[in-house]
Amino acid sequence: MTAAVVIGASAGAVQALSDILPRLPAEFPLPILVVVHVPSAPSGLTQLFSAKCAVAVVEPDDKEQIRPGTVYFAPPGYHLLVEPDASISLSSDEPVLFSRPSIDVLFESAADAFGAELLGIVLTGANEDGSRGALAIEAAGGQILVEDPATAYAAAMPTAALARCATARTLSLDAIADHLLGLVER
């Protein structure tokens, strides 16, 4: 059973997420936490995807309780972490792999909070962020989906995640969206 979804994306993120998030119905029952590497505040991601999506899209404040059917974008300049009680905490700790927010930081804390009930998705990107976090999700018994590097805008990030996680599945963006919709039907 999946209780929550985490997604990490970097270079090419907006296009890739545009193939996935707008396909989710308003009643999608899971929370989705997303880290996208953005250079500066404001990122504009929340406005952009609110306009395209049926699900609620927010940039959370510190200590918000995670709700189903909501997409949470990490605020620029902050790491996004999940607490054991499924609330959000933000941090302004130093960047990890030059990034704040960091995909690894989200994935590792979410793996601690949701264990085997977490689905992690690594999308396009030109760095290695996310691979360490994906490994933490795998170790906690969760599932990993990775965008097919052959068709990704930037292959480095998916490739790094696949190299680290033996159980990760490679899928196209369409198939990733289908997989999320499949979680609803079950």
Partner: protein, 278 residues
């Protein structure tokens, strides 16, 4: 039958380590947001080369040198001068006109870390002609960070971003007027800290020490859990004069606080609140 799930060994070890730190050295991190404290403890364990948190706890209890090293991992020292320039711009344009009406001012910078925020306030107040009648209380729990704050010395490579922020914050002169450079470092003018009292104060365990018109505590409470956030906001509420101001970090909110009713949003988008209770 007890249906509580058994915590992971690592979580038990972390709990015990934090207990040891609180009992032995009175640094109490037990009510810090667990996800980020765990991340930083894992970093410390890796870099200080302990195989487990239990081993780290053993060293901490029996070797006084360990506490300072651990503290540097547990307290975050990430800031810059005029961080979030729009916050300082809002203070300058909307809060300072109110502060001007007081014959003397007290400002509390809680969790001042290396002092970037302290010097930012001092410069802004100087530019607004208010520094002479202001006392700034700058507090933190980390003595090493307070020493850096007192020195007012920063690496020269940080000055470019400080300067940009100062301009965007509505700075009236050049930031270069306030520091001298030597040996690759920028030393901020002593005059800026003549009215600053640096002191050791914990939002976890200490009480209110003064009455003030403004509290600025930004990106400190994101590291606390909800009950500890409530304690901290309670201290600010108690410390503030009627109609006093509270400035928080850009993603911090009083929405979830026990004290939400005691404050109104003064500049909503900059998280500047005003004490509104009697």
């Amino acid at each position: 039958m007890n249906t509580e799930p058994t915590p992971a060994v690592e979580d038990i070890e972390i709990q015990l380590l934090l207990e040891a730190l609180a009992l032995r050295y009175h640094y109490d991190f037990r009510h810090y947001a667990r996800a980020s404290i765990k991340r930083r403890l894992r970093q410390a364990r890796e870099q200080l080369e302990f195989s487990t948190f239990s081993a780290m706890q053993d060293a901490l209890l029996h070797n006084e040198g360990m506490v300072g090293r651990l503290l540097d991992y547990l307290t975050v020292q990430v800031s810059e001068m005029f961080r979030d320039p729009s916050y300082f711009k809002a203070l300058r344009e909307k809060v300072i006109p109110h502060l001007r009406t007081y014959p003397s001012l007290k400002i509390w910078i809680a969790g001042c870390s290396h002092g970037e925020e302290v010097y930012s306030f001092a410069i802004m107040l100087l530019e607004e002609g208010l520094l002479d009648r202001t006392m700034i209380y700058a507090t933190d729990i980390n003595p090493a960070a307070l020493d850096v704050a007192k020195s007012g010395v920063y690496p020269l490579d940080r000055i470019a971003s400080f300067t940009r922020n100062h301009q965007q914050a509505g700075g009236r002169t050049s930031l270069a007027d306030y520091y001298a450079t030597a040996y690759g470092r920028a030393v901020f003018d002593k005059k800026l800290r003549e009215k600053v009292v640096f002191s050791d104060h914990s939002l976890v365990s200490d009480e209110v020490f003064t009455e003030c018109q403004l509290v600025s505590c930004r990106n400190v409470m994101i590291y606390f859990d909800r009950p500890l956030q409530d304690r901290a906001v309670g201290l600010f509420r108690e410390s503030l004069t009627r109609r006093g101001f509270l400035g928080l970090g850009s993603k911090e909110t009083l929405r979830f606080s026990d004290h939400a009713d005691a404050f109104t949003e003064f500049v909503r988008e900059e998280k500047i609140y005003q004490r509104s209770d009697a």
